[in-house]
Assembly symmetry: C2
Homo-oligomer: 483 residues x 2
C-alpha cells in the first residue's frame, strides 16, 4: 500500500475552497466575455528555444520534460512559466489567421520551479487579457483594460483596492535627461566589445554574458543603443524593488550600476512624488517625460469617458514593473487592507509583442491576475467565508418514496435548478447527511399523498411548508430560486 | 530571431475553434453543476510512486519533470495521465475532510507521451465525474451518471449517439462457469511461485514480472486469487479489442492466454448476443452472471424513473472496458454516424477506488468525456460550423463621436450584453473591420443628434433602424439580446 505524499508547491484545494475559486473565475470570465475578448488556450509546453529567448525567468526555474521510463530521453520542450510568452509565440505563429486588433483572454496554469513559500507556488493560475494591434493600437484600450480590472475587483467584493498607475516614459525620460547610463560607460563598453577587450566588469546579471556575446555581431550604433536599453532595464528592475527593500539597499544597487550620487537623489525624489499630476508634470521638461505626462492625462480622460469611478485609481511614480518590454502606461493592483500581499494584478502597454519571432510590428496592452495567490490570501485571511461542502441548495430525500421523489427531481433540474438526490434508503441517515452537508432546503415525500414537505433547515421551526403540491413548489422555485 | 515550431501532439485551437470548445465545456459544466457535483482540480503532477501503482499506462508514456538548467536534476514527480488516479489519491489524502457520498467533477488536461496521430494527442482535456461512497453506494447513482451522459450529448446537438452498456459481472460469471483460467493453470502457477520455479511462460505483459515478484510474499490462497484476477483481466483486455481487431486475431490472443477452443466459442457467442435482455439472461445460469442480469434490469428501471428516454441506450455484451477495476455496470458512448471515432465517453461502477492507498472501502461509479478528441472530430467533420472570430454580436463604432459611443457602451455592458468597442478613428476602417470580423450588428452615432443608427450587416438593406434613441435601443436589447 502506498501513502501518497503532498508535492511541495503544487497546491490543491478542498471542494469548498474550489467553490470560491470557481466563483472568482466566473466573475473574471464573465467580465472578459462582456468586453468581447476571445478565449484561447495554449499548449502547456513551449520549445526550449522559445523559452530561453531574451526576457523571462531563470532556466533553473523552468520544468523541462523527460520520460519516466528513461530520464535521459530529454525533450526539447518545457512547461510554460507565464502566459505572455505563449501569446507572443501563438500570435506570430497564427498571424495570418488572426484579425487585429486581437483581443484575447487566457486563463491557465503556469509552472515555476521556485522555492515554495507562503503564497508562492510552483503551479498557479494566471488570468490574462491582452489587446494586440497591427502597427498601431488606440491608447483608449489602455483605459479599457483598467476599467476591466476595476470592474473585476469591485465584483470580487473582497475589500478596497488601489489600481496604481505610472508611465514608463517618465522613467525613460529621466534616464535621458540624467544620461543613465553615462556617455563614458556606453563608450568604454562599446570600445571593449569592438576591440574584444574583457567586459566582465559590465556583467551584473546571469544573462549578460550571453547577451553581450550577441553584441559582437552588431554595428557600433546598434551596440550603443542595445547597451543603453539593457542598462536602463537594470535600473528599472532596481527601482521595482522600492516596496520590498530599504532605501539604502536601493541606493546601493543603483551605485553598483554606476548611477551617480546626484542622479540617485533625483531618482529617489522622483519615486517619492505625490500623486498630483501637476507636481509630477513639473518634475522634468524632458520630451519623453512630457510624452508620458500627456499619455497619463489622456488615459485619465479615457477612463472618465468609460464611466470609471476614479476613486480606486492612484498615480504612483514608484511603480516600475520589472519587465523591460513595457513602453507606456503601467499598472499594479493591491488590496488596501492587505498590502503585504503585493500586486495581485498588473500589466501595461508595450510597443511590440513579437519582436523575438517576427518582423511584424504588434503593439499591445494587457494585464494579468495572479489568481492562485489571490485565492491563497482570501482563504488565509478568511475574506470570503468557506461555503458548505455542497454544490446545490436542495437535497431531495428519496427514502420515503423513491419513484415520486426522483420524478420531481427531473422537473426541478429541467428548470435549471441544481439539486442533489440522496439514496440512503433510511430516513434518519438522510437527515443526518443533510445536516452534515449543512443543506439549507430538503424536500421529502408526504406519505400516501401527491404532495411534498419542504423544510428550511436554517430556520428554527424548520418548516417552510408542510404540504406543497408539486406545481406550487415548482412555481415557488421559479419565482425565487433561493426561496 | 526565432521561428517558433509546432510541438507535435500538443494541439492548439484558433480563437473561433476555441469558441466551440468553450460552448461544449459550458454544456458539460452546467450539467455537472445541475446534478450537484462539486468541482475539484488536482495538481498537474503526481509522485512517480503513485503513478507506477498497479494499474495505469506504460511508464514510457509518462512525462517526468526535470530542470531546463540541469536535466540531471530529475524530480520524483511526473505529469498525470488521467483524472481517475489523481481522484483516488486526492480522496485518500483528504478522506477525513470529505463528506460521502462524494460527488466530484474535474475538467482538466492530461498528458501521455504516445506517438501522436489523428485525434490522438499528447495533451488533451478530460471531463470526469465520479460519485464515491463510503462502504456502500446506491446503484441508482449508476443510472444518474448515464442520464447525465444522455443530457450532455443531447444538448451538444451533434447528431445521434448510442450509450452502450454492459455489466462486468456477466463476463466474470462466464469466467467462473468456464473455469478461466483453468484449475490446472492456477495450480501449476502457484506451485511455481511457491517453489521458485521459472515462471517466464506466464509472462504475457510487461508488468507481469514485477507483479509476480510481489506474489512471492503471499500465502497460497492469496496467490491463487490474485493470479485468477490477473488472468481474467487479461481476457477482458483481449475482448475489449473486439471492435478493433478481426475475430481471428481475438481468437489467437485468447489461445495465447490458454483459453480452450470450446471456451473461446462460448465467449464469442456471448459477445455476439443481441441486445435483448431475455436472450442475454438465458445464456448462463451462473450466480455472478445472474447478479449482473439483475443489476442491468434494476439499472434500466432506475433510468426510467429518472425520466430518461431509452432510445439512445443499447445493451451490448461486446463492451468490455479494458480497465480491471470495473466491477458492475460499464458504459461507452459513440456517435452513430461517426463510429470510427470510437468511444468518446465511457465509465462504470467499481468496488473500491482507493485500494492502493488505504484500507477504507470506497465504492464508486464514474464517467469520463474525451473532450479533445470530440472537438477534433467536430472540427474535422465540420459538425458544428466555425463561428466568426469574435466574442460578441455588437460592434460599437466610435469614429463619428467617441465620447457618446463610449458612454452607451458602458450601459450596454452593464446590462450584461457583450460588445466590442472599435477605435480606428476612421469610419471606413471601422466598417472594413466590422465586415472582416463578420459582425452582425453595428451601432454608430447619428451626427449632431442624441440618437444612434443600428445596422444589421446580415440584411440586404443593412438597416434595422436609422434612428434609435438610447433608451429605445437599450430596451430593444433587453427584450431580445440577439434582436
Amino acid at each position: 500500500m502506498i501513502k501518497p505524499k503532498k508535492i511541495s508547491g503544487f497546491n490543491e484545494l478542498l471542494p469548498e475552497e474550489e467553490l470560491i475559486q470557481q466563483y472568482l473565475l466566473k466573475i473574471i470570465k464573465d467580465e472578459f466575455n462582456l468586453n468581447a475578448f476571445l478565449p484561447i488556450e495554449t499548449a502547456s509546453v513551449e520549445t526550449n528555444e522559445v523559452l530561453q529567448a531574451k526576457e523571462g525567468i531563470e532556466t533553473k526555474e523552468i520544468y523541462q520534460l523527460t520520460k519516466l521510463s528513461d530520464n535521459t530521453d530529454v525533450k526539447d520542450f518545457s512547461l510554460r512559466f507565464d502566459l505572455t510568452l505563449p501569446l507572443a509565440r501563438y500570435v506570430s505563429q497564427n498571424y495570418g489567421q488572426l484579425i487585429f486588433p486581437f483581443k484575447r483572454y487566457q486563463i491557465q496554469k503556469v509552472w515555476r520551479g521556485e522555492r515554495p513559500a507562503k503564497g508562492r507556488f510552483r503551479e498557479f493560475y494566471q488570468a490574462d487579457i491582452d489587446i494586440i494591434g497591427e502597427n498601431t493600437l488606440s491608447k483608449t484600450y489602455d483605459a479599457e483594460i483598467v476599467t476591466i480590472i476595476n470592474n473585476i475587483f469591485t465584483k470580487f467584493n473582497i475589500g478596497d483596492f488601489n489600481i496604481k498607475v505610472n508611465n514608463r516614459k517618465l522613467q525613460l525620460g529621466l534616464f535621458e535627461e540624467l544620461s543613465i547610463p553615462s556617455k563614458e560607460k556606453v563608450k568604454s563598453f562599446s570600445d571593449a566589445i569592438e576591440n574584444d577587450i574583457d567586459i566582465s566588469k559590465y556583467i551584473t546579471d546571469r544573462r549578460d554574458e550571453k547577451t553581450y556575446k550577441s553584441f559582437k555581431l552588431m554595428k557600433r550604433d546598434q551596440i550603443e543603443q542595445s547597451f543603453i536599453e539593457l542598462e536602463r532595464g537594470k535600473v528599472i528592475k532596481v527601482l521595482d524593488d522600492i516596496d520590498k527593500l530599504s532605501k539604502e539597499k536601493i541606493k546601493e544597487n543603483l551605485i553598483s550600476l554606476s548611477v551617480s550620487e546626484k542622479d540617485i537623489d533625483i531618482l529617489m525624489s522622483f519615486v517619492s512624488l505625490s500623486n498630483n499630476i501637476d507636481d509630477i508634470a513639473a518634475f522634468s521638461k524632458n520630451k519623453t517625460y512630457q510624452e508620458g505626462i500627456f499619455e497619463i492625462k489622456e488615459f485619465i480622460n479615457d477612463l472618465s469617458m468609460l464611466g470609471m469611478n476614479l476613486s480606486n485609481l492612484k498615480l504612483d511614480t514608484s511603480i516600475a514593473r520589472g519587465l523591460g518590454y513595457y513602453t507606456g502606461m503601467i499598472f499594479e493592483t493591491e488590496l488596501t487592507d492587505i498590502q503585504e500581499a503585493g500586486s495581485i494584478c498588473s500589466g501595461g502597454r508595450y510597443d511590440n509583442l513579437t519582436k523575438d519571432y517576427s518582423k511584424i510590428n504588434l503593439p499591445g496592452v494587457g494585464m494579468s491576475i495572479g489568481l492562485s495567490r489571490l485565492i491563497s490570501i482570501i482563504l488565509d485571511k478568511k475574506i470570503i467565508p468557506l461555503p458548505p461542502q455542497r454544490n446545490a441548495d436542495f437535497l431531495i430525500l428519496t427514502s420515503l418514496d423513491k419513484e415520486k421523489m426522483i420524478n420531481i427531481t427531473k422537473e426541478i433540474r429541467e428548470m435549471g435548478i441544481p439539486c442533489e438526490l440522496s439514496f440512503f434508503n433510511n430516513y434518519k441517515k438522510e437527515i443526518k447527511y443533510a445536516l452534515r452537508k449543512n443543506y439549507r432546503f430538503i424536500l421529502l415525500s408526504e406519505r400516501n399523498s401527491d404532495s411534498f414537505i419542504l423544510r428550511d433547515l436554517y430556520e428554527e421551526d424548520r418548516s417552510i411548508s408542510d404540504k406543497v403540491m408539486p406545481k406550487e413548489f415548482l412555481l415557488m422555485l421559479l419565482s425565487n430560486q433561493s426561496l
